[in-house]
């Protein structure tokens, strides 16, 4: 394998992570506002199908992406309405929507199975694309991948550097305190859930109109991506930068699985394909185990120096969710 092919492979990793980036950023915004949008897996499938169908029928790729965002926003609106206004369990509503949207995409998408439709092509950015190494990696991508880079930066800046972002942080932490500072908590929760949903809805067309162009129904291999994106959100500790890192790590692992298959012929391909899932469980374990009571007790029984070392390690890995995640807000 030459350096060139490795670089092209890594560039492919950046591109194939793009849909997951959108999903993870959308979920991060939604959860920062206190709403878990568990419908992600279904939303991505439905927006992938819907986006493809619209782009195919109108022969307009932009409309396809917009349709995907609209679908994501609508599903998020249902989540927001049932959980914020009607105070039903976010997990229940999200789970039902995850299944229903999946089945709906299969039902409505059957006429589009295997049809060839429009897709995005790479755009070489003049001058920049000629920079050695970086040019291949970053500047010969398609437009949606460029947008994914920008989205990471924008989301991060929004949350941690702007005035509304500060309010968003506060809503996830203590909605009542945001309320007394003059914000309409539930309205903001609606807005962020819907914007987050639209971002998640961008993930679908980013698959069906770019890296995995077309609609293949149950065999399109998209079922499951949404659940992975949910765990990457946790891994990301509700920080867009760390979440994006998680998404790239996941895409890298998938690529390695493909590349290394001929090398390790003894390992069946099925094992390499599911490798991300045990790894996902393992990372969740590392992120969460510091909160377990028995760990605290075991630490307490250790000599001081060992205890300090482990406590530091656990704290570095730990990610705490927004304190008000999943908790409805009421004035009295």
């Amino acid at each position: 394998m030459t350096v060139e092919t490795i670089l092209i492979g890594l560039a492919g990793v950046l591109a194939s992570a793009a849909p997951i980036i959108f999903a993870v950023l959308g979920e991060t915004l939604s959860e920062r506002a206190g709403v878990i949008n568990l419908s992600m897996n279904g939303t991505i499938l439905l927006s992938a199908m819907g986006g493809f169908a619209v782009a195919y029928n109108t022969d307009n790729i932009v409309l396809g992406f917009l349709a995907g965002m609209l679908i994501g926003a609508l599903v998020a609106l249902i989540v927001a309405f049932t959980s914020i206004t009607l105070k039903q369990s976010q997990v229940a509503v999200g789970f039902v929507l995850a299944l229903t949207c999946r089945d709906l995409s299969y039902f409505l998408g059957s006429p589009y199975m295997g049809v060839t439709g429009p897709r995005l092509h790479a755009i070489q950015i003049p001058i920049l694309s000629d920079i050695p190494i970086l040019g291949v990696l970053f500047f010969r991508q398609d437009i949606i991948t460029y947008i994914s880079f920008i989205a990471i930066v924008l989301t991060w800046v929004w949350i941690f550097r702007t005035r509304p972002g500060l309010i968003l942080q506060g809503i996830g932490e203590k909605p009542a305190a945001v309320f007394i500072r003059g914000s309409n908590v539930n309205l903001l929760r609606y807005i962020y859930t819907i914007i987050g949903g639209a971002l998640i809805g961008l993930a679908g067309p980013a698959f069906s109109l770019a890296i995995r162009a077309g609609w293949m129904g149950t065999i399109s291999g998209l079922d499951g991506i949404g659940w992975i994106a949910l765990s990457i959100t946790i891994f990301g500790g509700w920080n867009p930068a760390r979440a994006a890192f998680g998404a790239y790590l996941f895409a890298l692992l998938q690529w390695l699985g493909l590349v290394l298959q001929p090398v390790f012929t003894a390992v069946p391909s099925q094992v390499l394909q599911v490798a991300p899932f045990p790894l996902m469980i393992l990372t969740l374990l590392l992120v969460n185990i510091g909160n377990a009571e028995w760990v605290e007790r075991t630490l307490a029984a250790m000599p001081e120096s060992t205890r300090k070392l482990f406590a530091k390690l656990l704290r570095a890995m730990r990610a705490s969710p927004p304190a008000a995640l999943g908790v409805p807000f009421e004035r009295d």
Partner: protein, 345 residues
């Protein structure tokens, strides 16, 4: 009138009507006649004894899974991993059958061992999610989902690897077992009275556990307030694990029956989505065991009825999933609206 059973029954009917309304609109939007679709589904599920027997074939695993989930829901756990627990039940049963393939033991004994093996396999797989939750702090939703994907991969690995058919491995699964390894079925029908009996027995036992035993009360206490239950002296983590084990065993039994009474071999998608469907049934019946039988039967009928749609109307059979999902969604919405309405009144 809005209070009490009658009131909530009326609201359930409203939800049902809304769900059918929305699905009708979807059908119209793709140019199909809703009435024809519903009629075909109805005839396709209860139109003949043979078709109704198919509904029962689908009803059995669904009811078993629902029974198990009632326990995990009672202890406050979202056991999404139930799908993988069905798969591991099926894998374990297949393993037991393969182990005894040349044995001279009476088939009844082997079948019993195989089903028990399936229950054990499901329970052990569930305990993984349970241990991750209780000792690792990993939310059971994510632990369970990850394990579901792993279990599917494991099935495919077995079918294409160690357990592959002589000659070419294929998606059609492992070599079918001899007829003697099958649960006795009714003449000319695929349904086995034994499997139906096991499923009904399971839901009855679960009903009594939750209604009348100290064990059930403790499970509920753990589910409603983990911390307070611990302070009251209940060994909470043990009870969480127990509920995972019970649910896993029942899901494993569902997988075992899929192998021993339906497919007679291991196939790639052996769980057929019954785990996720069971979660929907449990939500729809608001976690009340008493309603499990009729609702699971209704969902099973939708599943079987929709098989006719691609043949008769060129519609995808996933319509049943859309209808089931929409129904649960509207029940949640209508229930939320009712609570809001009652609070104001």
């Amino acid at each position: 009138m809005l209070k009490g059973r009658l009131g909530s029954f009326i609201f359930q009917l409203i939800a049902l009507a809304l769900a059918f309304g929305v699905v009708s609109l979807i059908l119209i939007s793709v140019g199909a006649s809703p009435l024809d679709a519903y009629k075909n589904m109805f005839v396709g599920s209860v139109g003949s004894v043979r078709k109704f027997a198919e509904v029962l074939v689908s009803f059995v695993p669904l009811l078993l899974v629902t029974a198990g989930l009632l326990i995990t829901f009672s202890s406050g756990l979202w056991n999404i991993g139930v799908e993988g627990q069905i798969v591991l039940g099926a894998i374990s049963t297949t393993w037991v059958f393969r182990y005894f393939i040349d044995s001279t033991l009476p088939p009844a004994l082997i079948i019993s061992l195989a089903i028990l093996g399936g229950m054990l396999g499901g329970a052990l797989w569930a305990s993984l999610a349970g241990i991750l939750k209780t000792f690792g702090g990993v939310n059971e939703i994510f632990g369970g989902l990850g394990l579901n994907f792993v279990s599917t991969a494991l099935t495919i690995y077995l079918i294409f690897g160690p357990w592959k058919r002589p000659g070419v491995a294929s998606m059609s699964g492992t070599v079918p077992f001899p007829d003697s390894f099958s649960l006795p079925q009714l003449p000319d029908l695929r349904i086995s009275m034994w499997s139906l009996g096991i499923a009904l027995l399971a839901i009855v036992i679960i009903y009594f556990i939750l209604q009348g035993t100290y064990f059930g009360l403790k499970i509920k206490a753990v589910g409603k307030n983990f911390r307070a239950a611990y302070l009251l002296g209940i060994p909470t983590w043990q009870y969480s694990l127990y509920s995972f084990l019970i649910c896993g065993a029942l899901a494993g039994a569902a997988g075992a029956i899929q192998v021993a009474a339906v497919y007679h071999r291991l196939i790639p998608s052996i769980s057929s989505g019954y785990g996720y469907l069971g979660l929907m049934v449990a939500m729809l019946i608001n976690y009340q065991a008493i309603w499990a039988v009729p609702v699971a039967l209704f969902f099973a009928a939708l599943n079987i009825g929709s098989i006719q749609l691609p043949i008769l109307m060129k519609l995808d059979s996933s319509l049943s999933g859309v209808l089931q999902g929409t129904l649960v969604l509207f029940v949640l919405i209508v229930e939320g609206a009712r609570q809001k309405f009652m609070k104001k009144a």
